[in-house]
Symmetry: C2
Subunit: 350 residues, 2 copies
């Protein structure tokens, strides 16, 4: 099938026009022609089992003569974000955003200044912040992510994401996307797959930059989501206010639930990196026909980070990849991507 | 702009091939060429203000030289279903489904047979059923729409929708879609709009037939939705169970909330027929640039039904269109579609 792809690639321009002149419906033919040629996109991947699993899956599901062919409307691929598409250590980017929003929240409500957990966050003491309890963390998240209109939140989040920098690389967080995964998104799309983000992070937060950073439009971002309340401003203009009411916790079993809620189709391919992605991969794998399930293992301390605790890697609370998950992957035929071995480059700037 | 559209229409086949040979990116050109020609699709509409509002809006937002041009990714049109796309009288189709599922539920749990509200529904006494209280109705809905796997529900609902018939026309409910609205969906899609259903009905129910009946895929159906619970069958295969837990009540203010949750963009055009659509139309109209808001008024007792109570039409609890809503439409420049005057045909079989 690879040979076919190359043959198609020889003169794409001619094929494009010919396809349209000869065929109905022309749009489908063009899409299919573009598709076959796209494995060239995977330049940041080393040749090896991970890259091979990807290209074999794509060929099998897009070649009309294949018994595993998948109709284009069913070509859905879902991606976790933190740790799968971009760096999540030492802390999830959105949590950093929430911490950095605290001064603005306290400026509006000065009575919070001497109250916990605000006091600890304002102290800037990272060690103390790392020890905050889950209820404390939730209070910070609700205080910084809700209570404002959808538009105000979007403006604040956009301003931050366009300027805030990661402590290690001193670069924008949006520069810290994994180049092999960005290529994979493009490769799948070139093959008629619609790429979705299915993230434990906030749906509204990720939508602010997903189009620009990943080429994924807002309607293809599924994430943790709260309710919104409809109201009118003083001129009678309606707007939605973000409410501190959780509708969907898009982690663990919440991922299949979110996929059913917002997509309504079972993915053909799913990509994750932690125990929070387990159910999404199981759910994907439970469908019939060809399916692709992959997990990114952070085993590259030099170029990025190493954490597991699978395979004896250091344990972590942020993006935990347990040995149990690793064993399930092996048992169920999921592919584990070794950052160290499978990725030629980690970032676009490498 | 109308003239332009006709000029493009003269020889579409030639234009299609020429566009591809001359241009990059060809896909965009083809889409745009198809677009201009599509007002021919609106054959079930009489010439008049409603049809004119539609074609003017589409021309203004798809003509690149227009100050109101809208990028294709922003072309989102949302449609209420019951009473807007298909018949909702004498009762919402999904409620009929729930009533007709009661015998199957009781067969599984015989202890319900002599309990209300099941007893009344089993009696088949339509007058008594019409008088059921809201909590009684909710009990019937939960009992018939939840507690089973997503797949089992889908199978049951599909079997029913493919055979059940409307009491007046003795035809499948899916034959009772309004031909002018089906044409409008096609016309908008031919112009690069993505068409969404935003319904107070159950999201999972509508998804069963939306692709076949409206050409709208599951991921473009937003509706009232419950939670789902992740679990495993005896062979360890995961599945989702529909839970009696309401996540989104996609009526009234729930419509903008559902749009924000599942689409994440403000629609450019919105279509409804009752007070339950008011906030969706307001929210759509609150965006900048060209927007199209339309309400179907059921004023045709002969060919379909007449109900309001707007404009002195008979009052109803099913699809209420109040005079207040009518006044808001006039004040805000929404277009009211008169079934009687604006629709040449109501159904495809007319």
């Amino acid at each position: 099938m690879k040979r076919n792809a190359r043959a198609f690639g020889i003169n794409r321009r001619v094929l494009l026009s010919t396809a349209v002149l000869l065929s109905t419906p022309p749009l489908l033919r063009i899409a299919s022609t573009l598709a076959q040629d796209a494995s060239k996109l995977l330049t940041a991947w080393n040749d090896g089992p991970a890259k091979q699993a990807i290209t074999e899956f794509v060929h099998a599901t897009t070649d009309q003569s294949s018994p595993k062919f998948v109709q284009s409307e069913e070509r859905i691929a879902t991606f976790d974000q933190d740790g799968t598409l971009w760096v999540e250590h030492p802390m999830y980017t959105q949590v950093v955003y929430c911490f950095e929003r605290v001064p603005a929240v306290v400026a509006q409500k000065p009575e919070l200044k001497d109250r916990e957990p605000y006091k600890t966050v304002l102290s800037g003491d990272h060690e103390a912040m790392a020890k905050l309890s889950l209820p404390d963390l939730e209070e910070i998240l609700f205080a910084t992510l809700t209570g404002m209109s959808v538009e105000v939140f979007e403006t604040e989040a956009r301003k931050w994401i366009e300027t805030a920098k990661h402590s290690r690389w001193k670069r924008l967080y949006t520069d810290l996307t994994y180049q092999p995964m960005v290529e994979l998104l493009q490769y799948l799309r070139a093959n008629g797959y619609r790429t979705y983000i299915v993230t434990g992070g906030g749906q509204d937060f990720v939508r602010v930059y997903s189009q620009k950073v990943y080429g994924i439009p807002p309607e293809q971002v599924v994430g943790t989501a709260g309710g919104t309340k409809y109201g009118y401003d003083k001129d009678g203009k309606p707007f939605l206010t973000k409410e501190p009411k959780l509708l969907l916790n898009d982690n663990d079993a919440g991922k299949p639930e979110g996929i059913h809620l917002e997509i309504g189709r079972r993915p053909r391919a799913a990509f994750g990196n932690s125990t929070g992605d387990r159910q999404m991969l199981e759910y994907t794998g439970a469908g019939d026909g060809a399916r692709l399930m992959m997990l990114v293992l952070h085993d590259d301390a030099q170029r990025e980070y190493e954490y597991g605790p699978a395979r004896g890697l250091p344990d972590t609370k942020v993006g935990t990849f347990t040995q149990q998950l690793y064993d399930e992957a092996m048992k169920d035929g999921w592919t584990v991507i070794s950052m160290k071995n499978d990725w030629k480059r980690i970032f676009a700037f490498d």
